[in-house]
Each structure stands twice: as C-alpha cells, then as structure tokens.
C-alpha cells in the first residue's frame, strides 16, 4: 500500500514549472528571430532608462536593452545548465553502475576517487580553470560537467547497489544472462528514472554555479549577457536602480525553481519516502 504523500500538491505547481521552462526554452532557441534590440548595443543616453515602447523592460547601466539581455542570457544559462550535467550523467552514471554491479577493487577505486574529488572546493576548481584556460562557454561546460561526475557516480552506485542485491537480478544471473544484458536490461531501466531526476536537479545547480561564476566576472566573457553577470553588474547600482539586479535574479530564480520542481516530482515517483532530499 503506497502511503499518500504529504506536502506539496504536485499538479498545479508542476504545470506552472513546465510552462515556464517551455517559455524560457522557446525564447532562448528563437532569440535571434525575435524582434529584439541587440543585447550588446549601448545607448549612452538611455542608461538605466525605465521601460518604454521600444525597451519593454528598460535599459541597464550601460544603456543596453534589458529584455534582450535576459533572453540572450537564457541561451547561455540553459546551454551550460543542460549540457554540463550530460557529462556527469553519462560518465558518472556509467561509472557508478559498473562500480555498484561488479563491486570489488573497481568499486573501492571509484569510491576512493569520488571521495578525493569531492574534497576539493568545486568553485575554486572552476575559477582556476576559467582563469588559466580562458573564459569561454565550452570551458565552462567542461569544468562544471567534470565537477558533477562524483555526485552522479554516487547516486548511480547507490541505486545499482540496492538493485544488485534484489532477487530479480539474481534470477537473471541464474537464467544465464550475460553481465552486459543484466546491466542493460535489468539494472539500467531501474537506474534511469532516479538518474534523470538527479539530472534535472543537476541542471538547477549548474545554472546557479554558472550564475555565481559570471557574477564574479569569471563565467561567460563580457559583453555577452548572462544572468549571473547581469546580477553582478546590477549590484553596482543597487541604490539607484535595484531592479537591474533583481530582474535577472527573479528570472534565474524562477528557472532554477522550475527545474527543481520537475526534478523533485520525478524523484518523488521513485522514492516512497515523502519529502526526501
């Protein structure tokens, strides 16, 4: 008997989250086709201008169109946010599954490696790499992606470990199934859902990390817009025009929240315990 879960009512919130993600996603994909002013063109007379017919959300401190910068920023945030965890989920997922299934020295090595990697402060890593290797979207995706591998490895290993002990995997072995068939047919379908849920939560974290790096001025190279750098730049004029920082902050918050909501709903499907992290 499934215990009815307490807490949030998933329906409406989940729907809102999906609508918001669809909206942001479309805006990012079709940014070049939309009738928007250039995100980098400065209007020195219109610094911190209030919204008008041409600039729906006003201008930033250098007179660049806010709406256009937000939408182009979405491209960066989403591409980094979606691509970086792909590295983690494939490498980490595979590593974790192999470690959890075969156990033995491979597992010891993997777990030890994960422990070592987790000991290093991830933001420092990311900062060091972008400083020394240069600020670019590709470097950003690579470094954030690699930093995510240990977490995915842990999740995949834990789920696989609990599955390997289960009778249906033993049954497959007793039937004479090969290891690769067991991994692909019996284990993968059961690991896929928790990993996907974790992937979505990873997307949310990645967007935040990218935001933090850009906020420090070490993410995407300027003048390309990114939500994090917009917040960082807006911070300078917090007393004059607080909306310059708060507008991108709200958009980023909503997006991260939406990914968290979707990921959490998916996780709730796999985890009978209510409200687990």
């Amino acid at each position: 008997m499934a215990a009815p879960r307490g807490g949030r009512r998933p329906g409406a919130v989940l729907a809102c989250a999906l609508v918001w993600l669809a909206l942001i996603g479309c805006a990012a994909i079709f940014a070049n086709l939309l009738p928007l002013p250039s995100p980098t063109e400065m209007d020195l007379l219109g610094k911190r201008a209030l919204p008008d017919a041409q600039h729906w959300l006003g201008n930033d401190q250098l007179g660049r169109d806010m709406l256009s910068r937000l939408i182009h920023g979405a491209r960066i945030s989403l591409s980094v946010g979606l691509l970086a965890p792909v590295i983690g989920v494939t490498v980490g997922g595979a590593l974790g599954m192999l470690a959890g299934y075969f156990r033995g020295p491979l597992e010891t090595l993997t777990v030890g490696g994960v422990d070592v990697l987790l000991a290093f402060p991830p933001l420092v890593f990311a900062l060091a790499v972008t400083t020394y290797l240069g600020q670019s979207v590709l470097n950003l995706i690579l470094v954030i992606g690699i930093l995510g591998i240990p977490a995915f490895t842990r999740v995949a290993r834990a789920v696989t470990l609990s599955l390997t002990e289960r009778e249906f995997v033993v049954a497959a072995r007793a039937l004479g199934a090969t290891h690769s068939r067991i991994l692909l047919r019996e284990i993968l379908p059961n690991v896929a859902l928790p990993l996907t849920a974790f992937f979505l939560l990873g997307v949310a974290v990645t967007i935040v990390v990218e935001g933090a790096l850009s906020f420090l001025g070490l993410g995407v190279p300027p003048p390309a817009p990114s939500w994090g750098s917009m917040i960082g730049e807006g911070r300078e004029s917090l007393d004059l025009a607080p909306w310059l920082a708060f507008l991108p902050a709200v958009v980023m918050f909503m997006t991260v929240l939406a990914f968290n909501v979707v990921g959490d709903s998916l996780r709730a499907l796999t985890d009978p315990r209510p409200g687990a992290l």
Partner: protein
C-alpha cells in the same frame, strides 16, 4: 569500535595521499611557466633557466612532488613569490575569519532548521508543514549571491542598519565585529536551514512511522520524550552528514559571500591567488582546504558510530 576506527583510518591515508597528489598536479599542470610568471618583464632565457634550476622546476615531475610532499610533511607549504608571505602564515591570518563565519552560519542554520523540521514532521501534511516545506523548497533555488544582494539592499541600502561590506577585527571592536558578520552569516544560514530542515524532516517522518515509535507510544511515554529521545537520534544521521559536508565546504571559506561582503577569509585568499596567478598560495590553501574536508568527513563517520550502535558493532 576500535576496529571500526582503525578501518576508517586505514582508508583515510590513501585518500589523503591522493588529495596531495591531485593538489600538486593541478598546480603543476596549469599552463604558464612559474619562472616566467615570477620574472615578468625581466624574463630572459638565461634568467628563467637559472630560476628554474634553483626552484627545482627542471626536475622530473615525480621528484618535484616528493620534494614538495616532504616539505608539506615538515610544515613547509611554501612561500608566495608575490608577497613573500608563507602559506602557513597566510592561512593562519585568514582562518579565524572563515571559521567565525562558518560557526555563526552553522549555528544559525541548525537553530532555525531543527525545530522547524520537528514541527513539520509532527504536523506532517498540515498547512504549516506545507507552507514551510514550500518555502524551504523555493529557498533551495535562491543562490546565496542573490540572498546577499537582497539582504544588502534591505538592511544596508534601504534601512541602513548594518554595513554592506567591510570587516572589523573582534579584538578592536567586538560589537562592530558582530555587526560586520551578521549579514554574511545570515546569507549562509539562509542557504543552510532549508537543506537541514528538509533532510531532518523527511528522516523524521520515516522514523515516526517505525514500529519502535508505535511501541514508545504504547508504553505511555510523554510526547516530548518520544520526539526528542526516541525519534530525533535515529533520524539525525543524514543531518549530521549534510552538516559535516557544509562545515567541510565552509572551512575553505565561503568564496562568494566573502567576496561580496569583503571579508578577509580563506575564500578571498583563494580568489586573490587565482587572480594573481599565485601558484604556491593556491596550492597550499587548496591542500589545506581539501585535507580539512576529508578530516571533517572522517569525524562525521565517527559520529555515525556514536549515534548508531549498529554501525559501531559492525552490523550496519
């Protein structure tokens, strides 16, 4: 118990060794010639070669590692070639600031998180539980640099109650010191309590469904004792883990928060070292931070055994 500690210690050593190796490799493999960077404009091939020889940079990489490790084991972490400061004194200088921030943030986070978690678990599904879990969930999506800006805007810009940035040493002005720590600690605590609350709440809800809680009720124990003695302790394992990870992270200073609030902690030291390409400081501080993280996690493992006798007796 002794065997348990021994086994964990045996695992700790290779991990620590791997941490030193990786730290060394990162700094060694980063592009850019150290000698060239140090000499700057005056660099001539001869000078570079001479400097490389005196610094041992021309040796094979494994020799350099062993040499470095030997120094580390004797407490010699190296010296910044920019400021001449030793790594050890730089860390000792910044450490208290980061530690004070960490302690303040953790205490605040736990003081807010634990009671709310217990409240939510007891009143699971009620309006207050739904409100608090919803709030905590939303808060998870609010990164600390946003919270920092929000708090600065509110308390420094609008209300003008607290300083937006700056640091006052405790020895100079205790009250000013507390005031300068309030906003950054609040920022970090804001990131902590939702995580702690969610973790403890979900574990606690699971525990409250256990037979031994039904048994405790059937024994006619008082509700407070059931909650605080019978339910809290077995529910606190994940809470301890998460707190441990957070402490381990914050030992290295809160990069973003220290930068925003201009606190001279380890986080800022790291950022400055990266900006100025000061390998030696970077290497030393990263090693220090990573080793700190590993040790904190080791302590958490030990705490597990204290909290749960099943682990202690090897029947986990």
């Amino acid at each position: 118990m002794a065997r348990f500690v021994g086994r964990r210690l045996l695992y700790l050593l290779p991990v620590l060794l791997a941490v030193t190796l990786l730290t060394f490799l990162i700094a060694a493999l980063l592009p850019g010639d150290l000698a060239y960077t140090m000499l700057g404009d005056q660099a001539t091939p001869e000078k570079i070669a001479a400097l490389r020889a005196t610094m041992g940079l021309d040796l094979p990489i494994w020799q350099r590692y062993l040499h470095w490790l030997g120094g580390v084991l004797q407490g010699d972490f190296g010296r910044s070639f920019r400021t001449g400061e030793t790594v050890l004194s730089a860390v000792a200088d910044r450490m208290p600031v980061s530690l004070e921030l960490m302690v303040a943030a953790e205490v605040l986070g736990l003081v807010i998180g634990i009671p709310l978690a217990i409240l939510c678990a007891v009143k699971q599904g009620s309006a207050i539980d739904r409100f608090l879990t919803g709030l905590a969930f939303a808060k998870l999506s609010l990164p600390s640099f946003m919270v920092a800006i929000l708090l600065i805007y509110l308390f420094a810009v609008q209300l003008n109650w607290l300083p937006a940035t700056g640091y006052v040493p405790f020895t100079e002005d205790p009250l000013g010191n507390l005031r300068s720590f309030l906003l950054p600690a609040m920022t970090l605590a804001f990131a902590e309590w939702p995580v702690l609350m969610r973790v403890l709440r979900s574990d606690m809800i699971a525990t409250l469904q256990e037979d031994y809680i039904a048994m405790a009720k059937a024994k006619g124990l008082k509700p407070a004792r059931i909650l605080l003695v019978h339910a809290l302790k077995p529910s606190s394992l994940t809470l301890v883990t998460v707190t441990g990870i957070n402490i381990g992270r914050l030992i290295g200073g809160a990069l973003i928060v220290e930068t925003i609030f201009a606190l001279p902690g380890l986080g800022r030291l790291l950022v400055a070292a990266i900006y100025s390409r000061d390998f030696i400081i970077l290497q030393g501080v990263v090693l220090f931070v990573a080793v700190g993280f590993v040790i904190v996690n080791f302590i958490v493992d030990m705490l597990y055994a204290v909290l749960d006798p099943r682990i202690r007796h090897g029947r986990a």
